[in-house]
Symmetry: C2
Subunit: 398 residues, 2 copies
């Protein structure tokens, strides 16, 4: 049975935290977006959410690869393309057609920012190497996203999210010790690289205001993913030990893990002895607080299998929701394990505008940067049809 859809648009209009009329922090900036698929478009969509004008340049003929990738909405348009390109303009260019290439160069000449995620070397072969563009246009910021970066022995190797996840250590760190290395269930290396590229561009924009200097920004998916691995890096850099994956539990605190109830798992996080005694009581086993095996965090950590077994023997008598309520009321940090369909329906997520309704009635993801002074709603316009702005752009940059 399909669940009823939340009335996102209606709830939005009543939410003064999402005032659509506030000024945008990046208003007036022009972005030439030469990216495809996920990492680059994510970066450029963040620029659009900040109020920059983003022209998504697509390959003449087929357009962005994601236009022919699902999932699709009822009208046949790709939700994949929509999520990564909402609020942008679209023009289709053939870089090998001299007229189109000249137009591209006229667009770049007026741009503040160029974003690209070709394989390193492609921009150079096209005659628009990032460093050359920065020489020609000293205020220009050119951001490049690639698997391994623009230089170094691996720079030209092909990279997909799965390969970068494998090489970054995040896959090895995820999963049960006796299970297998597990891919994070989203294209984390693509998306985090897009976020880091955005952060680099915003930094360069600020610095340009002071000095007049543009710059290239070179972001590698591998570097960005490795930046997420600070905990395993502590182990290997600080202790020179090889980190090992430990499932869902915390390395030093217990109980701080997921626990199986009758129907579903529940995340419970007991940071200290006091919370442990509160939790013991909530689970109907006050005596655990004085059990010599569980007295201190060190003991609970040492005997974590026994703690988990004891807790699950009780938790399995009720549903995750009923236990969630009891444990939350007791004041112990606890969370249901939700799927994204449930997450996007949380009143908190709706009130934060993390799902928003575009001009065509389709829903997309909101922006996680909530400012008091600046617009925190993000783009209001739908994703463009293929080559939608061909005429107006050709006229403007004639």
């Amino acid at each position: 049975m399909e669940k009823k859809e939340p009335a996102y648009a209606e709830l939005e209009s009543e939410n003064n935290h999402l005032d659509k009329n506030k000024p945008y922090p990046l208003e007036g900036l022009l972005v030439v977006d030469l990216t495809r698929v996920l990492s680059g478009p994510t970066c450029a969509r963040m620029l659009a959410d900040g109020g920059a004008r983003v022209i998504h340049v697509e390959r003449k003929g087929k357009g962005d690869d994601t236009r022919s990738m699902g999932p699709y909405v009822e009208d046949g348009s790709s939700e994949y393309f929509r999520l990564a390109n909402t609020g942008k303009e679209s023009i289709a260019l053939d870089f090998h057609d001299p007229e189109d290439f000249a137009l591209l160069n006229r667009m770049i000449a007026k741009a503040d920012i160029v974003v690209e995620n070709f394989r390193p070397g492609v921009m150079k072969r096209l005659g628009i190497a990032p460093e050359d563009l920065c020489k020609k246009y000293p205020r220009l910021i050119v951001a490049s996203i690639s698997g391994f970066g623009q230089y170094g022995p691996m720079s030209s190797e092909p990279a997909y999210d799965t390969i970068v996840q494998a090489m970054s250590g995040i896959m090895d760190a995820t999963g049960e010790p006796n299970g297998k290395a597990t891919r994070v269930g989203t294209s984390i290396s693509d998306i985090v690289a897009g976020m880091i590229a955005y952060a680099g561009i915003a930094t360069a924009l600020y610095a340009r205001e002071h000095t007049g200097h543009g710059t290239t920004v070179d972001v590698a998916m591998l570097d960005a993913t490795l930046s997420l691995m600070s905990q395993d890096l502590m182990t290997t850099l600080g202790e020179h030990k090889v980190p090992h994956r430990i499932g869902n539990r915390h390395p030093d605190i217990y109980p701080f893990d997921t626990f199986q109830c009758k129907d579903a798992p529940l995340a419970i996080c007991c940071g200290n002895d006091h919370l442990w005694s509160v939790l013991s009581k909530a689970l109907g086993h006050e005596e655990w607080a004085n059990d010599p095996r569980f007295l201190t965090n060190d003991l609970r950590e040492q005997n974590w299998r026994e703690v988990k077994e004891a807790m699950e023997s009780v938790l399995k008598t009720g549903t995750a929701k009923s236990w969630h309520k009891k444990i939350e009321e007791a004041g112990v940090p606890v969370g249901l394990v939700l799927n994204v369909d449930e997450t996007r329906r949380l009143p908190q997520v709706i009130e934060r505008g993390m799902v928003k309704t575009m001009s065509d009635g389709q829903e997309v993801m909101g922006t996680p940067m909530k400012y008091s002074y600046w617009n925190s709603y993000g783009v209001q316009k739908d994703a463009p049809a293929y080559n939608e702005n061909d005429q107006s752009i050709r006229q403007e940059f004639a």
Copy 2:
């Protein structure tokens, strides 16, 4: 047996991509860092890597919680603290001591940026609510990181990384379909929230240059983590379907998965029919390219279990390293599943400066934003000792 350490410091000095003498993009900015543990310190460390001066304000007595969390290096100092606080200054303050509180306010009065990750409401109780600070100092940028954000029905609930991962959908999306929801093996919700807060601050810095206006920046770990879930969001927003986890494989392309060799897994990504025929040949089974079960991507996707079984029956005859070499030489995208100890030793990672040596000889993570014009090495100074800069800061802000 402990592996030999790479000569990071030596390799660094020969690497002109990491020129330490280049100007820093955030030079001249003063950051008052009121954060603890991971999400907030990560954000402030990124500001330090950009060249901002960051004063890490610690709790009088115990200091930052991570000072007493492992892992520890030989001299007993915490590598956890070091990784998140390298390059900062430290002063220990008691906010309830009128003199210390007055000093804090004098520091804020001169600051460009304040970062905090208290539970929402704490800053207000202390008398330094973010919105009040912005009213008093119109150019000030105050970034707050919390589990669920500064407003909304859940804003005051306690949140740890594990709980936010559970509620964001990322845990449900990670793991095998018949296995259990799996925590990402790093504190992804903390770290991504720190990155998004940095991105918001950099955006606000740029916008301030034009308008003179500061702003609050309110970042929720839940919003930031949900921003990583674009693929599952496509499914639920575009098709109104509940997404299901599918292990390590790609939802629409096959083979695009991890495969077990004799000793370890290998990530192999075949994006099209041509690469499939190349891979088949490399695995010694040219006939697979014409096998009616495997002819097109749609068929391979439909029969993915048979593809995987066929491939693994061959891959299990050799080591992951030997197969990696063969498959790479054939031109098919392929990657070893590495742990972070192996990742940090990759020549590519070293050449990108993703591990760097601080003034005290300890190694920390580098910065993933590589600029041509600006310093891309990041901070060069070690993490501060507890209250290391007490005297000089008290004098300066007297």
